[in-house]
Amino acid sequence: MHTKEKTSTVVVRLIIAVIIAAYVLFPFILLLINSGKVTADITSNPVSLAGASFGQLMTNIKAVINDPNFLFWNSFGSSALITVLSLVMLSVFGAMAAWVICRNKTVWSTIIYFTFIASMIIPFQVVMLPLISTFRDVGKFIGIPMLQSVAGLVFAYLGFGGAMTVFILNGFIKGIPYTLEEAASIDGCTPEQTFFQIIFPLLTPVITTVTILNGMWIWNDYLLPSMMLGQNGKVMTIPIAIQKFVGSYVKSWDRILPAALLAIIPMIVIFLIAQKQIMEGMIEGAVKG
């Protein structure tokens, strides 16, 4: 910036950047062109455009989109429903809990806060087996299925995402002046009015951050839904659908690749729309988390 750089240095740097970008994007490009080919062309020459056509791409996609092992629209719908419901519940309940924990300096709030922080180190593997049996037993006990249901999965995401959500929100709420709440209280606001009408709207930027972090995790998560929903359950998410699909079409790349393409399109579209927010949100989350 302050030192003058030689033009050659700048050019070399640009070339390096382009080469790396080509390497990073290469799998996506390969995925796209080979999704539009027949098997013979895929195996004989995967790196060339030969044999790839838009018409073939459509044919391949049509062949997989309604496949009983994939059911793209169903699994897309379930994934979207689960992700959106989990994100809304995490944001609202997370903010409510974080606000109470932050604004009450009691022994209890400190204990709850540190339990949340400590729990972030717990790997999913250590709780997953008892979790499934607990959910199965509770579901049988009260007569509402907790496994193989959207509601059960959303409840589980509320539990697993809660700690990180509260941690990040808590850091933000600390920065909101308490005098604001005192003023509202003097003006006759009840605590719940203060929260929903004054504090919650102020949390918009940080709620965006946690929504992005949680959204990427929940949308792409495989292990938790596969344990709770099972491979052959009524509800399938996209990662489960892909896993099941590949299992039934071993090495049939003209089926697997279009399916993978379909699976990544929603995420890519969202990224292209909200690129800036997503990248900023990821950084915020990492630096605070």
């Binding site: 790396i20 390969l30 809990a97 607990t134 790349w253 890519i268 990492a286």
Partner: protein, 365 residues
């Protein structure tokens, strides 16, 4: 006190009582195994179809109604405390049911002969002894540590170099940042299959030999490559943020003093982003330890290897996948749970040690 209308008082007490009754009846129906409550039957096309009020629905509605009553409770003094309880309850309840209870149960189950559904008795440490006699499990531990070490170094190195590139003067900076970050958006399962295609169909075209995935050593390298490809862009973003916090006048001063770019890098930039390095090391360490999706989709743990005088078939299986296979595929829940508890202990110990070391280093720098 006349602060509260009679209507509110009535509503509050009515909800509290009705809520409690509903919840208790729901629970009682569950405990006595009486089943759901049949309200009445209506004949639909000649058949008597019962209209059912589910015991679970009753219980949940009861609890919600109870909280509504609590919310309306005519008190000024305790209103804040009531709001605190209502606000904390949903998240804490979900957290307790999904994390705390399973964790406690899980640690307990690891000392029993639990089979995923029921248990018949305590077996002491026999699950733990059993897993240390499994050579394939010992291999998984070793492999996981190797993977973590390789990745911690390589991901941080690659990400830092990318960050240097992306903070220098360059055209289309935004495009390059977004492109490098892109793989991070895609889930490990889908990624794993895309790369499986590349390793077994594309790379072989260039090397003209067998697929990298068919040999244990090269398959392990393949997992590392995919992991770096996926994760480096994310870590790069954090390094970029770190590098951008270095004040411009510091860099200016070093330039005036005649520092060359290498000196600036090692004597100014690296020490100043020490906190960022700590964060990134922590993130790469914990996420590499927990690696599961790519491992499952790319190699599914397969690969033969000779270890401690025995041939084992799961040469590329890391800890997280080993636990899953033990419990879910081989149906040995107690053993899988014991392995998971050990996994938890290792992860906790390593994270704590890493944070300690980094904090010391940060102070020294």
């Amino acid at each position: 006190m006349s602060t509260f209308s009679t209507g509110r008082k009535v509503a509050s007490f009515a909800s509290l009582i009705l809520g409690l009754v509903l919840a208790i009846v729901g629970l009682a129906l569950s405990i006595t195994k009486a089943g759901d409550l049949i309200l009445f039957t209506i004949p639909i096309s000649g058949k008597a179809t019962p209209v059912i009020l589910g015991r679970g629905t009753m219980f949940i509605c009861g609890i919600i109604l109870f909280f509504v009553g609590l919310y309306l409770f005519p008190t000024l003094k305790y209103h804040r405390a009531i709001i605190n309880i209502i606000f904390l309850f949903p998240l804490l309840f979900a957290f307790a049911v999904t994390v705390i209870i399973p964790l406690v149960l899980g640690i307990g189950y690891s000392f029993t002969d639990w089979d995923g559904i029921k248990l018949t008795g305590f077996v002491g440490l026999s699950n733990y002894l059993r897993m240390f006699n499994q050579k394939s499990f010992l291999w998984s531990i070793l492999l996981t540590f190797l993977f973590v070490v390789f990745n911690m170094i390589l991901v941080n190195l690659v990400a830092f170099l990318l960050a240097l590139l992306c903070t220098s003067r360059i055209k289309a900076l935004g495009f390059f940042r977004a492109a490098y970050f892109l793989p991070n958006l895609i889930g490990g399962i889908v990624l794993g299959y895309i790369w499986q295609f590349i390793f077994s169909n594309v790379v072989t075209k260039f090397t003209g030999t067998y697929s990298m995935l068919s040999d244990t050593k090269t398959a392990f390298i393949a997992v590392i490559i995919v992991y770096i490809w996926q994760y480096a862009g994310y870590i790069m973003l954090i390094y970029i943020t770190g590098l951008n916090t270095i004040p411009g006048d510091v860099l200016e001063a070093s330039a005036i003093d005649g520092a060359n770019p290498t000196q600036t890098l090692f004597n100014i930039k690296l020490p100043m982003i020490a906190p960022t390095i700590t964060i990134c090391t922590f993130l790469t360490l914990t996420s590499a330890f927990k690696q599961f999706d790519v491992n499952l989709a790319l190699t599914n743990g397969k690969g033969s290897v000779q270890f401690l005088g025995e041939y084992i078939a799961n040469g590329t299986e890391m800890l997280a996948l080993n636990i899953y296979t033990t419990a879910v595929i081989n149906n040995d829940y107690a053993l899988g749970q014991a392995k998971a508890v050990l996994f938890f202990i290792i992860l906790a110990a390593v994270s704590i040690i890493q944070v300690r070391i980094s904090n010391k280093k940060e102070v020294e720098l």
